[in-house]
Amino acid sequence: MSIVTVQLGQCGNQIGFEVFDALYSDSHCPQGLCSKRENEVYQASCKERFFSEEENGVPIARAVLVDMEPKVINQTLSKAAQSGRWKYGQHSCFCQKQGSGNNWAYGYSVHGPRHEESIMNLIQKEVEKCDCLSGFFIIMSMAGGTGSGLGAFVTQNLQDHYSNSLKMNQIIWPYGTGEVIVQNYNSILTLSHLYRSSDALLVHENDAVHKICAKLMNIKQISFSDINQVLAHQLGSVFQPTYSMEGSYHYRRNPLGELMENLVPHPEFKMLGIRNIPQMSENSLAYSTFTWAGLLKHLRQMLISNSKMEEGIDWQVRPPLSRLPTLGKVSLNRELHFNTSIANLVILRGKDVHSADLGGFKDPALYTSWLAPVNAFNVWKTQRAFSKYEKSAALVSNSQFLLKPLDTIVGKAWNMFASKAYIHQYTKFGIEEEDFLDSFTLLEQVVASYCNL
């Protein structure tokens, strides 16, 4: 089943390119560590999901590119075409001549309705190329102008026109010390709108990925391209093919659907975080070997202690000894820095994957009291290695990962709102104070829900 990706704004388009490139490279990687036949099936499965076929055989990404200015889109198109391995569709992009000046309200209330028909037509054309549509990825930044406001509008439209299809928004969480003054306003407006119309919000934190580049990849001058490649690697390690069930060698047909069913069925808990291990530069790869026990031990501690990467993990954090019913009680766990999970999905790729022991993730102490590990924990496997890593593990988690960042952003936005700073930029284009208040209410509810796990 196929996934159609909508790339929005500068952020969405640059990341989208890296994602397709990573998926393509991995599926054509010669060191798959599996039989030729299996590799072919893996390739075919990835291809059907993310690329469509053209006569001359060059795969075309199942994507729609949207931006209010042409520069980034043109760069993206040419980068893809230059590689000669895959490309974007000739008529899959929509752009205008000028930007929207980082104004969320302008993106949502003006650009959106004005260009709704054109954008939805492009998406419809891409959907028609699919034999079977599993759902949509929408890649966008949370705090920018075009990407976020327009992204919120487009997601709402997808909800209206494709209500049975699944929608996952890949959201780029801005740097804490970001440059845009109103980024907190943009963030809360984006999040509250997406919470209503999207099925899952998979959050990528710029700060976290930046640290990975610095500490693990040893990159001196970190560019956006480096960051985006790490991000793409994380996404690829989740959505590349995996066996449909224990003991089977058939690849699952609908990973997006299964992920959603297992992680985000509850309407109040839609925020997902992603972690992966190991992460290193290509030079170091050749000299490293890992055991599943070691990898999983680290990954588990990353989950429990809310660590963003495998270095600097706080090993002091332990699960609580008793799980008390939590209704109404202030979470003690916050003080203990223990990250309570609702549900987790671990994806294992590589050699001897069937011997990996996942008992540590099935400990009920990791999870909230109202969901037993048998329902809360899922694992996907394949012995086909991912992107030259002999063994690799990824974790998609619906847990308190984003509780603190979310709380921080809401707090900052509220402080600004209390003094009505910069509100006129929004009310000028139809986003009233009411809308802000609605957003605050919704997000406060989300924070409270995650807090009371």
Partner: protein, 395 residues
């Protein structure tokens, strides 16, 4: 001369009998060996259990995919249960012999009686054809037209989870959400299947030897493809082309007009009797209840309205559904030109119409149930002063 001819006939029949028994033995589910049949003819007790089991299998309702609808315990029922079931089923089908009903429940005797019962069943209706139809390979792309078989089957027991202590509502919301996602996944899969069926039906136009069908089904395409690869004998070669007929339609035995008269009169008599019994009881009840005042009559009115609505809905569904006109069980999907007319079977438009009306009925029932829930919640909320309802985020 007549006598000689009879002897010749009997000789031919006796010669054919072993072959017939052997065929029966192969065809029947849990088919007993021919030796069992022979022993049963002599009423040997050791043949009885096998024949009880055979009759049980033959008489129990078989689902469309050929699997026996055994109770969800997963184990075959005990001999006593089988014996009772067989006796009950034969009785309801009108089997006349009392001797069978009087056989002991431990299943140890009566093999000749059972053989007679089997013969009666075989002679009565197309038993073998029905059994064979249940288990044959289906060549067409089939869709079920109605769910009466599925509804009649006893379903798996609903897992009852006894909650020790209050149940966290978040768990329920989680489960509801899971169900919704599973539904969406199912819809997507179904759409994919339809798209692929459409493609195969289009691409194989003109390939089927049966002109009324015109194109191949998925199963037929795969058989041909495998045959070309030399992997197996063409089953298609040996099977006659399938006419687009639904599977076995249960035949209502013909009765004479006189019999219907009799039945109608008996029903009328029964109705009179019931009315006679009900009237005094109702009067007595109303006398008791009448003094309860307007509140009670409001309740009465509400219940009467509710019943009236449900009856009306049922009637509408029955009339619009045209249930009598529709065949039961799965039917073969055949793609034909829009202009083509005639030919047996239903048009897709008709089936869609029926499904739409059923959907509307179910929606109405759902709305009513939701309204009842809301009223109940409001009543509960009214009982707790100071309770605030916070609705979940939505649009």
């Amino acid at each position: 001369m007549g006598r000689r001819r009879r002897r010749v006939d009997r000789g031919a029949a006796v010669g054919a009998l072993p072959k017939a028994i052997a065929a029966l033995s192969r065809t029947l589910p849990a088919g007993p060996s021919p030796e069992i049949f022979r022993r049963a003819k002599f009423d040997r007790p050791e043949a009885a259990p096998a024949l009880w089991q055979l009759l049980f299998r033959v008489l129990s309702p078989l689902s469309a995919d050929g699997a026996s609808a055994s109770p969800a315990q997963g184990e075959p029922p005990s001999t006593e249960a089988q014996v009772r079931a067989v006796k009950s089923e034969l009785r309801s089908q009108g089997y006349p012999r009392r001797a069978l009903a009087q056989l002991p429940e431990d299943g140890s005797q009566g093999s000749r009686e059972l053989l007679l019962a089997l013969a009666w069943l075989l002679a009565r209706g197309p038993l073998l054809e029905r059994l064979l139809a249940q288990t044959r390979v289906r060549l067409g792309d089939e869709i079920p037209l109605c769910e009466c078989e599925a509804l009649a089957r006893p379903g798996a027991p609903v897992p009852r989870v006894e909650a020790d202590g209050p149940v966290d509502i978040r768990h329920l919301q989680w489960l509801m959400g899971k169900l919704r996602f599973q539904w969406r996944k199912l819809i997507t899969s179904q759409q994919e299947q339809c798209a692929l069926l459409g493609k195969i039906h289009s691409y194989t136009r003109g390939c089927h030897s049966d002109r009324s069908l015109g194109h191949l089904s998925v199963a037929e395409t795969e058989l041909l493809r495998d045959a070309e690869g030399g992997q197996q004998d063409t089953v298609l070669g040996t099977c006659p082309p399938e006419a687009s007929q639904p599977t076995f339609v249960p035949r209502i035995p013909e009765r004479g007009a006189g019999e219907w008269e009799l039945v109608a009169r008996e029903l009328q008599a029964l109705q009179e009797e019931l009315r006679g019994a009900a009237e005094p009881r109702r009067a007595a009840w109303e006398a008791r209840v009448g003094g309860w005042g307007p509140e009670w009559s409001a309740v009465q009115r509400a219940s009467r309205e509710a019943v009236g609505l449900e009856l009306a809905a049922l009637q509408r569904a029955w009339e619009r559904g045209g249930a009598a006109a529709q065949p039961h069980g799965p039917c073969r999907l055949v793609k034909s030109d829009a202009g083509a007319s005639g030919g047996p079977g239903l048009r897709a438009a008709q089936v869609i119409e029926v499904l739409r009306s059923r959907e509307a009925c179910l929606e109405a029932v759902l709305c009513q149930l939701q309204r009842q829930c809301r009223q109940e919640l409001a009543r509960l909320a009214g009982a707790l002063p100071g309770l605030i309802w916070i609705l979940p985020p939505g649009r």
